[in-house]
């Protein structure tokens, strides 16, 4: 009979660690886990540049346009902007046609430059404040005013006079911040593709109004209501200047406002869009309220001693069905103040 030997310990089998050894190893493992977790927390970007899980087109703006079949344009002549605005809105059927109780209203102004209001490079503060007051009086739950000046936004809003005027009118001024931009792709667009679009200030907004001055523009020919949407783009948007007509048309495709106000009380005839001299301005004594930005810009071209045919983006926008260059076809009501 073969003798049975007790099993000899395997060469690799270590005796169970002592209690002290177990605690020491446990502490080492815990320290390693804590260090790894701490490193991960340190490297974690809590403020990513965008929510890339969202559908790109979901970031684009809702359609705010008024589709009630009412009058499409009013043209007011005069020099008193607030009074001209009131008359223009009355001619359109009253602000109550557009703004209802509880609406959230966003006023997209032109605050692109840190220049005084008298130079006409930015939306007129009195005009913007008056519209904000009227919207609040019409029952708007809130009015927010915004634009995205690339350089030194606070100074732009302050020095052009919009910041104090807006606040005095009871509206909220929103200076865009990083989290306000979301990459979006315009369906059918060639330029606005995965591009940061200002969307933060639109939270809760149900009505959108654009307010733009009439200006010559070194690159686009003219800057009016459609070019004004350029301020909704973030990023290195200057590259779009290489196809300025294309980007203005795509902006018109992207933004469907409730109505626009084109301020041609004075027009920047030369050296736009910055201007700089009072000599660049001409009293053209006209203010337009329109539900059709293409038509508004077509009329604005005449204030710059041009026609819509001189500004290719107007014709291209009309061809895409974004509005009409034949503003007279809207049978605008003409009133004087």
């Amino acid at each position: 009979m073969t003798p049975v030997h007790p099993p000899s310990p395997s060469p690799s089998a270590a005796p169970p660690p002592s209690r002290r050894e177990f605690l020491r190893r446990g502490l080492q493992a815990s320290a390693a886990l804590a260090a790894t977790g701490g490193l991960g927390a340190w490297l974690w970007n809590r403020h990513p540049p965008g929510d890339f899980n969202r559908s790109a087109s979901a970031a684009l703006l809702p359609d705010f346009s008024a589709r009630d079949g009412g009058r499409g344009m009013s043209i007011v002549t005069g020099q008193d902007r607030p009074a001209m605005l009131r008359r223009g809105l009355e001619a359109m059927g009253g602000l109550g046609r557009f703004i209802r109780r509880g609406d959230g209203v966003l006023l997209k102004v032109n605050a692109a430059f840190a220049t005084p209001a008298i130079l006409g490079a930015t939306s007129n503060p009195e005009l913007v404040a008056e519209l904000a007051r009227l919207c609040l009086a019409a029952g708007a739950a809130f009015v927010v005013v915004t634009d995205n000046p690339i350089n030194d936004p606070e100074s732009c809003f302050n020095l052009c006079g919009l910041a104090p005027a807006v606040r005095a009118a009871g509206a909220k001024l929103t200076v865009p911040h990083a989290a306000d931009f979301v990459p979006g792709t315009l369906p059918g667009g060639q330029l606005i593709r995965n591009w940061p679009v200002l969307s933060g200030p639109f939270h809760g907004v149900t009505k959108l109004v654009g307010i733009a001055p009439v200006k010559s523009h070194n690159r686009a020919g003219a800057s009016m209501t459609m070019k004004n949407w350029y301020g909704l783009l973030g990023g290195r948007r200057n590259q779009f200047h290489q196809d300025i007509n294309g980007i203005v048309v795509e902006l018109a495709m992207m933004v469907k406002p409730t109505f626009v106000v084109l301020d041609g009380t004075t027009s920047m005839m030369t050296n736009g869009p910055t201007g700089g001299s009072l000599a660049d301005l001409k009293a053209t004594n006209t203010l337009v309220v329109s539900t059709d930005p293409v038509a508004a810009d077509a009329l604005g071209a005449t204030l710059l001693d041009r026609t819509w045919r001189d500004l290719p983006y107007i014709g291209r926008a009309a061809e895409r069905g974004l509005g009409t260059a034949d503003f007279e076809s809207l049978h605008p009501e003409r009133v004087a103040v």
């Binding site: 270590a14 995965n194 523009h217 690159r219 200047h241 910055t274 009072l278 000599a279």
Partner: protein, 341 residues
């Protein structure tokens, strides 16, 4: 660490496998580091937007000192100096950047300044480095406001209401004030004078030789302009002097461009003629009696004329009649130096 009792030494295979696993981890780490440097473009764009949109009321970080080492009496800075390059100029001046970029722009610095006694009287002082005096004159002249008053300051200067514009060598200065009051504009002038006095330049702008090519009769004062690019919408036409002339109730524009060689001037004249006909829908008319080789094009009721003479390309733009176009062509040709036979 104390040795584990009865622990055996790992075999060579186990050591090799372990090293392989560690090498794999190292490779994964290297791949992650490389991949992180190649973001999806959307991330890059959005990150840039976040960076730019996140700036709130502060000038771009710069260690640059004030535009002037010492300010004229009664003036004080109200902002830091901002510096812009060709890549960022449009952040400040939007669509007007192209005007400068096409004219040789190098860099721009600007700063806001106010009157110490009246902070609401402020101005922004822009200093454009255009690389060469001719470039500075180009952006100066092409923005010159009609009816402005020339000022004896720098190489060329004018004031138009609330703005003072100066050429000093390669620099183009623009002082844009919040009002046109005398005190504000005197301060603007003092500011410009201080810059000119304290900033040395190698060369000064002087276009008198080219300006003298234009006939003096009928010249609209101060209208001689140097256009750098896309003259009349023609992308081949660059660095052209133009001047406005009274013609009846309206005006015509004469132009002269000096080229390196007669052959180049001649080639450009042919190309411009073709541009007026092909791209602008013009109709070439029978050639005028003079100057030799000139052509006149009916551009839908306005008349353009072109000729080459020696190294010069010259002509008339938007004349109200064929007769006026031909008359101005002769006058301009008579001013140009005779070309060698």
């Amino acid at each position: 660490m104390p040795a584990i009792p009865n622990a055996r030494r790992p075999s060579a295979v186990e050591t090799a496998v372990s090293l392989g696993v560690l090498a794999l981890f190292a490779a994964v780490l290297a791949w992650m580091l490389v991949a992180q440097r190649h973001f999806n473009p959307a991330v890059t764009v959005a990150a840039a937007a976040a960076q730019s949109a996140g700036k709130t009321g502060t000038a771009p970080a710069t260690a640059a000192p004030d535009l002037l080492a010492s300010w004229p009496a009664g003036l004080r800075p109200m902002s830091a100096v901002e510096t812009f390059t060709a890549a960022t100029l449009s952040d400040k001046i939007d669509g007007k950047a192209e005007l400068y970029l096409s004219a040789g722009f190098v860099a721009m610095r600007c700063q806001r300044v106010s009157l110490a006694a009246n902070p609401t009287a402020w101005m922004e002082f822009f200093v454009y480095d255009m690389g060469a005096p001719a470039n500075a004159f180009s952006v100066h002249s092409s923005q010159k406001r009609p009816g402005s008053a020339d000022v004896a300051l720098g190489d060329y200067a004018y004031r138009a209401g609330n703005v003072l514009c100066v050429v000093h060598g390669r620099y183009y200065l623009e002082l844009v004030a919040a009002d046109d009051q005398a005190a504000t504009m005197m301060a603007a002038s003092a500011l410009a004078q201080a810059f000119v006095a304290t900033t040395a330049v190698e060369d000064h702008a002087d276009v008198s030789r080219d300006a003298a090519l234009f006939p003096p009769e009928g010249l609209v004062a101060g209208s001689v302009t140097l256009l750098s690019a896309d003259v009349f919408g023609f992308d081949q036409l660059k660095d052209v002097f133009v001047a406005r002339y009274r013609e009846g109730e309206g005006e015509v524009t004469l132009f002269v461009a000096r080229r390196a060689a007669p052959a180049e001037a001649s080639r450009l004249a042919t190309a411009l003629q073709s541009f007026f006909v092909t791209d602008c829908g013009g109709r070439e008319l029978p050639p005028p009696a003079a100057p030799a080789g000139a052509v006149v094009i009916d551009s839908g009721g306005a008349f353009d004329g072109v000729f080459a003479s020696g190294p010069f390309l010259a002509g008339v733009h938007q004349a109200p009649s064929r007769e006026a176009a031909e008359r101005w062509l002769v006058r301009l040709h008579q001013r140009l130096p005779p070309s060698p036979p």
